[in-house]
Amino acid sequence: MIGSILASGLAVGAVYALIGVTYNTMFSASRVISFTAGMLGMLGGVFGSLFILRLGLPVPVGFVLTMGCCALVGVITEFVAVRPVLKSLDQHLYVLSTLALSLMIQQLVATEWSTEPQRFPRLFDIGSGLLDEKFWLPIVACAVGMGALDLLYRHTLVGKAFLAIAEDNFAARALGLPERNLRIASYALAAIIGAFAGFAGGELLLAFVANGALLNFYGFVPVALGGLGSNRGAVVAGLALGIYQQAANFVVGGIFASVAVFAIFIILLLAAPQGLFGAPAVRRV
């Protein structure tokens, strides 16, 4: 039982964590919580299955095409659902615009792909039982993704520019940084992270349109628990959420497992409203 809780819980938790990072990446660039994050995770699985299984392309080609298509969806999100509402952030219109786009994506996938879950290909065909790749692949993907993001942010000029607009949009623009282009690039990057989560977790979650709504919600929980904007918090909270959820499935089972997740979510937020790793926003004046 412990093995199953750890294997399955960490795997699902890693996907939640990466979706949380997707939320954070989009938020950092625009101060918008985009509810397309879960849809990007779903698209990672659907495009992966489409390119590799249905169209028969090699795995590396399918992976690159999946990332490319999702990056395009990220860019479209910025143009269609984010940019028009940036001027009135305080009215929170982005909730409507990103949710609307999210629903459009979901409907399109349901119509053009399938409403039933479809198989996702075996990527490496390594391991069985609790060591099956469907369990460890999302965990490895989470580690690789976080490592790559760390490298990008700390050791590249573009990464530092991302951090600059995340830190202070106006100051970054005043310094001559192409804020608009960087925001578009951030949305593409966020989309790639979300798609990477869906692709790596495809064998576990399948290529299924309903994953979009599921990941939208369970991917947001680590953001809220870990602190909005904190990738490290999202990863810790995401992994903890996965283990907790799987343990609840074993201990109480069924719909009560979801109740247990919501209960702990509410209790933690009451105890630490800014999230476990978040800090109240402070601005030097």
Partner: protein
């Protein structure tokens, strides 16, 4: 004798009315107009597969009747509206069929959610209605004397599943798993109560989110509780396949019995190994089941032979196509026998049916019973045995 003017006019009017009623033939237009059948079909959307299958039968039956000259010279006109599985669209389409298209009978909808929305509307207009939806409350001869069911009710499905578990598999310790949808929760609760009433020991009962990626927790709990059979009430093929894969990984040979979604072709694509689909028994129908020799019942075989090359069965279920044919035939026969397409006459005819020989089943209705499908013909099939829309009988049945 002088006749007052007022009395003369009244007498004349009465005579004209009597003559019109007693001796004049009905207007020619009523006898030659087409028989309009409204067809509420979810042809697109998430639950479109059954309607597409039913539609093949509907169109086939209408074309065959019309090619043979129609019903006493009256052609069958099928007026289809795509409801997309949306109750709101079904309501609009029903209103249109009743008030504008002036249909004589309505076939459908084909899912319970839509049917719950439109059944009261049809009842208000006394519109003859046949549908294949399972929810028990859709048939009520007092509230909806116009509504007739030509497929099993949820109770009949459950009786078949329960009978197979208790009488054929001889299992006494039952696990019942439903998904968290309205159907899954309702069906699972119904099933648990009925098993308990029959003296079975329900050792595990749960509702699972159909999107749960790992079914190990519930399968372990069911095994530890001593379950000898797992009854599944879900329309989610993903959940079904995950249950089978988990059972395979656990090397547990417990049988699954339950909803026909477990036989869907989508399951075949999602299971890790083909043998994980063995010992899975789903709700089926005697008319659409192969016996041990691989043969369909004679009437069904005759039907399959007659539609060969005209109706595709390979990507559909035989009972859907046969059910569509039966629906049109039931309306046509009512008009043929009564000579009328009036609502009251069609309903009166259906209420008199005793083992009406359809291709899907022999339907029996009475003024007090509108569940027309014979319970004994609901059987269990081997989930992985699909061939041209029909399945092999599950082991244990007599041919």
């Amino acid at each position: 004798m002088a006749v007052p003017r007022r009395q003369f006019i009244a007498s004349g009017a009465a005579a004209v009315t009597a003559a019109a009623t007693l001796s004049f033939p009905r207007p020619a237009v009523a006898q030659s107009e087409p028989i309009r059948i409204g067809w509420l079909a979810a042809m697109t959307g998430a639950s479109s597969a059954p309607a597409i299958g039913f539609d093949r039968g509907v169109q086939y039956a209408a074309s065959m009747i019309n090619a043979a000259g129609g019903v006493k010279g009256r052609k069958i006109e099928v007026l289809t509206r795509d409801t997309q599985g949306d109750p709101t669209k079904a309501v609009n389409a029903t209103q249109e069929m009743i008030s504008q298209l002036k249909v004589h009978a309505i076939w459908g909808p084909t899912n319970s959610g839509e049917s719950l929305a439109v059944t009261p509307i049809m009842a208000r207009s006394n519109m003859p209605n046949i549908h294949p939806c399972v929810v028990t409350s859709l048939i009520d001869t007092k509230k909806y004397p116009n509504a007739f069911r030509t497929a099993p009710s949820l109770g009949q499905w459950d009786a078949a599943v329960r009978g197979y578990c208790l009488n054929i598999l001889k299992t006494k310790k039952i696990a019942v798993i439903g998904d968290t949808t309205g159907f899954g929760a309702t069906a699972a609760n119904f099933s648990v109560d009925a098993f308990k009433k029959d003296g079975a020991d329900v050792v595990y009962a749960a509702n699972i989110d159909y999107n749960q990626p790992d079914m190990t927790p519930d399968m372990v709990r069911a095994r530890d509780a001593g379950a000898q059979v797992i009854v599944v009430w879900s329309t989610s093929t993903g959940m079904d396949a995950r249950l089978f894969n988990t059972r395979g990984a656990m090397k547990w040979d417990v049988p699954f019995v339950g909803h026909s979604s477990m036989s869907s072709g989508d399951v075949a694509n999602l299971i890790d190994k083909r043998e994980y689909w063995n010992k899975v028994y789903v709700i089926g129908y005697r008319s659409c089941s192969f016996d041990a020799a691989g043969k369909l019942p004679p009437r069904s075989q005759q039907f399959v032979d007659s539609i060969k090359g005209k109706v595709t069965l390979s990507d559909n279920l035989l009972w859907w196509v046969a059910g569509g044919v039966d629906a049109v035939n039931l309306v046509a026969k009512a008009v043929e026998i009564t000579g009328s397409s009036a609502s009251a006459d069609i309903i009166k005819y259906w209420n008199s049916l005793n083992k009406f020989p359809g291709y899907f089943g022999d339907y029996t209705f009475s003024p007090d019973q509108h569940n027309g499908y014979p319970t004994d013909d609901v059987v269990m099939s081997e989930a992985s045995s699909a061939k041209d829309g029909a399945f092999s009988l599950a082991p244990g049945y007599k041919a």
